[in-house]
Symmetry: C2
Subunit: 341 residues, 2 copies
DNA sequence: TTGAAAGCGTTACCAC
DNA sequence: GTGGTAACGCTTTCAA
């Protein structure tokens, strides 16, 4: 492996000059630059990111802290991150988080500039203490799908999303609506479900109703199926179910099929996210720009990295639009008498 | 940020000793070790991976080179990689490859131990020259879903897979079978499609038939839809279509729906991969263990990393089993007269 | 068992 | 413009 010394020797210059060429400093004469470049090409020299990082006191990789495999949506966001990072010269390092301990471990280790130049935290709300630590460590952070004090974030308005979904149901004539989501109290501090439920309640309240049932369960299709099974067998079966994620909505579909209930004939189902399967399964849902959230998050981080000063504007929170996507799982309620609006 | 010197000072020992404690060398007295550990805890000290790597001449991250976003299956493999890497202490660095130039660039840059301790190359066949370079650079490589001279690889038998799919069709009574896949000549050197086609031809030949058509197109649903549209409108319409990937199979489904053809009534469709959407879309397919391929690949790499000697056994190629998954897109041909077996 | 010191490959500062 | 050289934070000899 050729080092910078080899290049310097071959080009007949000092290592300082080679370094300048490498970092294209303007203070190198054209002739010298050429000679150095030739030597580099000849030796097939590539600088060591490790040494460079150590010397500069900062790493050249960006950490993505992700609850990677529990949410299909995270992958989509990651795709956006990769796209947003483009060829900015940063490596993307993945940190999978499966538990709060995991999260603390990663965040703790990453709170130093020589570990990661910047951090993208997806769908996780880091405890304030860790945010402080990150800030002290000089590691810029951008939150995607989460909010935190004074930290740039890319979010959607989940309350509005909850409203959007419920309005669709109410507009169709549903009054008996059940809600399925993730537990509002959870170790990661996810708040999306709680906020969607809020929006749901608001809209229902406006027509003098409230959810016939609110069930919390894991973000898992099979678990949601089990929960939905009970819901659909209860004596006051809802005419519509609002699932806080498409994964859960697909579980509801499974349960309905299992019980011989037709969707949307016997029960309407609406999800949230619009992940890939939703199109195939024909699930009516609220689409959130997953890919775009990752792309924008990466872009914001890149900006912070380029211009650390840009940290205290007030447009810290970037809100992305939500959109109703009507497919084949929602329709007006039939059979039983509608409740009064 | 506390450094090793701070710890040494606080513990009243030399940095060498701290380093020994860090790398739990046995040559440290219990008492000393305790004092050092206390100092570490007190200072919340974490060693710099950069400095450690530079000093040891090797990085502590594993590179995953992936055609990340063109194939949904790659994500599934990556999930397996993350699982397989577990908490072995390596960072997972993602390298997205969108073009051969991309691939060469990444592989070139990664051919040094201080860049990546090891490499996982997914669904890409690196040119022999690059493999040599990697070997020279002392970077162990494991190929996932690809083969290469003398390099450990996790693969499936695509010819057998092609047979499996076609046998299913033939068993159902189909003789007029068309094949859709990716171009056999492609810049990345993918060979999966060609091998599946081979298996398909073998089985067809055994019943005295051959594909009614063989079409090549991108690994993209919409493109496959267009191709399938023509196929389904041709005068000698096949009774079944074998698509070399589920993504393409879903495109075929789109085309059929568009033309008012029923599946499997008017035409049977079988795919390959068994990605998540396939279950939702009810696509009959050949399942390949995507997650497992990633997990095993990571495990193999970890073994190489731990024991570099383990490089010349003859069980270099690990073959994973393929499995027919019958769902709702295949049935016996109807309407027209069957060709003779 | 421990301390001191020499690298590891860069960058950045300071002279020239 | 350019060359020399001290960091950067760790691991790993080599002595003691």
């Amino acid at each position: 492996m050729a080092t910078i010394d080899d290049v310097a020797a071959k080009a007949g210059v000092g290592v300082g000059t080679v370094s300048r060429v490498l970092n294209n400093s303007p203070k190198v004469s054209a002739g010298t630059r050429r000679r150095v470049e030739d030597a580099i090409a000849l030796l097939d020299y590539r600088p060591s990111p490790l040494a460079r990082g150590l010397s500069q006191g900062r790493s050249h990789s960006i950490g993505a802290v992700v609850p990677f495999f529990t949410h299909a949506s995270a992958v989509e966001r990651l795709r956006g991150v990769v796209a947003g990072l483009g060829s900015a010269g940063y490596d993307l390092v993945l940190f999978d988080v499966e538990s709060p301990a995991h999260r603390a471990e990663h965040l703790g280790a990453l709170a130093r500039r020589d570990r990661a130049a910047g951090l993208l935290v997806i769908s996780l709300r880091p405890p304030p203490a860790e945010l402080v630590r990150l800030a002290e460590g000089g590691v810029p952070v951008v939150l995607i799908d989460a909010m935190g004090d004074g930290v740039p974030a890319v979010v959607t308005d989940d309350v509005a999303g909850g409203r959007l979904a419920t309005e669709h149901l109410v507009d169709l004539g549903h009054r008996r609506v059940a809600f399925i989501g993730e537990p509002p109290e959870n170790p990661f501090g996810f708040t999306a479900t709680a906020r969607r439920e809020l929006g749901c309640r608001e809209v229902l309240a406006a027509v003098g109703a409230e959810p016939t049932a609110v069930e919390y369960c894991e973000h898992d299709r099979l678990v949601a199926q089990r929960v939905a099974r009970d819901l659909l067998q209860s004596r006051d079966r809802p005419t519509a179910i609002f699932a806080s994620s498409d994964v859960q909505a697909s579980g509801v579909l499974l349960a309905a099929a299992e019980l011989g209930l037709r969707v949307p004939g016997d029960v309407s189902v609406i999800g949230f996210d619009d992940i890939e399967i939703s199109m195939y399964a024909g699930i009516t849902t609220i689409r959130q720009p997953l890919f775009e959230s990752g792309r924008l998050g990466a872009q914001l981080l890149l900006e912070r990295l380029a211009e650390p000063s840009a940290g205290t504007e007030d447009d810290l929170v970037h809100e992305l639009p939500l959109e109703l996507v009507v497919r084949r799982t929602t329709a007006p309620p039939t059979g039983r008498r509608r409740a009064r609006g």
